[in-house]
Symmetry: C2
Subunit: 356 residues, 2 copies
């Protein structure tokens, strides 16, 4: 893939080396600091305004990119420094991301409950809704327009209220954890390291003469290897009913079959960041790579939403109608999982076919 | 469609007229009487042997064909006689079919529960299972090999036991009703009429010089008109999430969106019988017509199974885990409904494309 855009035999294109990586890391570090300043100015996550949410998202975004690039291009960077900062960046983006995850999960589940109730809050044309469900980074669904449980039938309304209670509680806890994290000395240590990175990237002695391409290609290879191991033939058969197998197994939160897809999602993201390093930020976005990533985001979101519905159904003393609605909801989200795999298969196969 | 096989401009092929229809009706009436005799000899439905089940199926089969042909070719038949016997044949095949329906529905639901529990009773390759679920007329699923609720998790086991109880009760009632029907004077009146039909078909005076083709074509037109009105564009988009809309609506047994599909199923059957009349029983079966019919049978079966699951969930005092399992099961069967529509769309579109 990288070769298509960065052909090393092309005399017009010099090799992309550690200098480029350093520039990318400096830019991401600067972005991180800008987002952090904005986050503080807007009152932090406690505020909950759109600006502070955007700032938190930008923080996570640059933390992921720095961490990912350090991983893909690790031979070019000071090992001790790199091994120290990477887990800290992962901790930070994980901690900051949780609150948003719970919020998005609740939105997705309430939206699904409305759809399953044939509620007027959901447009009649569901083809689009099913294909483009909310994924992280997408604009929040316009749920505020209707009261969360307006127009829902009794079971669905109770299920919605239960999920609202449980996921709002989880979100509130995640919020407190994030606030604590942002005030911790651990966070200040990361922020200090990123501040240094913004001006000075700890490259190895040979980095500026080392070609980045083989490392980006290796990232691509890890991605394509992982994709090859996916059950894409099954995924390409619509309505294969694979995702709901074990839908009633004893532990509803464990879906081992989702693991390889989550892994591909991470590898695809790493490869996407590697491309960003090599091609620069102004380079055209590979639309199919983007679409594949969105399908995998939807896969992850639906998988977690299905687990949340199953988990809620284990709440003691709920009414049968509530449990029934949660069962329908769980199955619905598992079918979203299956639909995402189909979408991924379709877009990835297209990519493979059109690439000579 | 009919023109393809029976070109009236082909000098080698004489027009197919009322004589052919009379021959077909006599053959079906003979088949009906043979099945009835076999049914009595094997001890009737009360016996439950494979032979008596086959006999009941053959009875329904010929009753449907006689009734359908009387409908399609009604201008050729004595109106009073035809209007008298048709509702009686419909009553008979409906009454005899109910027991089998409940049995097949229970089998389908228990099989789905096993699949959803990741039970070893279901083969790992589910693509085939999802595509070729049990339809009426198909061989019974090999459920007897495993105890109905073996390997099921607690909620699924309880749901299975509940469905078993409810559908077995319904089946037993249907069985009694069928027995009563077969011993009733109403039944004997139908049987007498069919016995007369086996030797003497009450054709109109002009029937033997009337071409059957325009009537078969009209049956085809009614079918294609009804198909045109189906939401085939949506159905052709895999995972359109259409079938589960209203999955949590107040009345779970009403799925008005299924109606037009059920209607097409009946029209397709009528057209298939009309073809049988025109082409003779030795004529090659139109495989795509057969496949379309199977998809619509599966649609009907899954639709009714989904309703049964929803209905069972309304049983008072069931455990939340049971209700949850029934919710998952309901959604699973509604997705089977959606999958059947997709299968129909695929096969019908293929048919349309390959026909010049």
């Amino acid at each position: 893939m990288a070769q298509q855009h960065l052909d090393p035999t092309d005399p017009a294109a010099g090799a992309v080396t550690g200098d480029t990586l350093a520039g990318y890391l400096r830019a991401q570090a600067t972005e991180f600091l800008r987002a952090l300043r904005l986050h503080r100015e807007t009152g932090g996550s406690s505020n909950g305004t759109e600006e502070s949410v955007d700032a938190a998202r930008a923080l996570r975004r640059s933390a992921r990119r720095i961490s990912g690039s350090l991983h893909t291009f690790r031979p070019l960077l000071d090992t001790a420094w790199s091994e120290e900062i990477r887990p800290e960046l992962a901790w930070l983006s994980g901690t900051l991301g949780l609150e948003h995850s719970y919020e998005a999960r609740l939105e997705r589940l309430l939206l699904a409950l409305h759809r399953l109730s044939g509620s007027s809050a959901v447009p009649a044309q569901t083809v689009g809704a099913a294909v483009g469900g909310p994924t992280d980074g997408a604009a929040p669904a316009p749920l505020k327009a209707t009261p969360p449980n307006g127009n829902l039938t009794v079971g669905a309304a109770k299920a919605g209220a239960l999920l609202d209670r449980q996921l709002t509680l989880a979100r509130t806890r995640a919020h407190s954890t994030a606030l604590q994290a942002l005030g911790s000395s651990r966070f200040h240590a990361v922020a200090d390291k990123v501040a240094v990175l913004a001006s000075e990237v700890p490259l190895t002695a040979t980095a500026t003469s080392t070609d980045l391409l083989p490392m980006a290609d290796a990232a691509e290879e890890r991605l394509t290897d992982a994709i090859t191991a996916l059950p894409l033939v099954t995924a390409g058969h619509p309505y294969n009913a694979e995702a709901l197998i074990h839908g009633l197994s004893p532990d509803p939160s464990s879906h081992p079959q989702d693991g390889p897809w989550h892994q591909v999602r991470l590898l695809l993201r790493l490869y996407r960041y590697a491309r960003e390093v090599l091609l620069g930020r102004g380079a055209p976005v590979d639309l199919r790579l983007l679409t594949a990533g969105q399908a995998l985001n939807r896969h992850r979101d639906a998988s977690e939403a299905a687990s949340a519905a199953a988990q809620a159904a284990r709440t003691p003393r709920i009414a049968p109608a509530t449990a029934y609605a949660l069962g329908v909801l769980h199955a619905d989200q598992r079918h979203e999982v299956e639909a995402s795999r189909f979408a991924f298969q379709q877009c990835w196969q297209k990519q493979t076919v059109t690439t000579p």
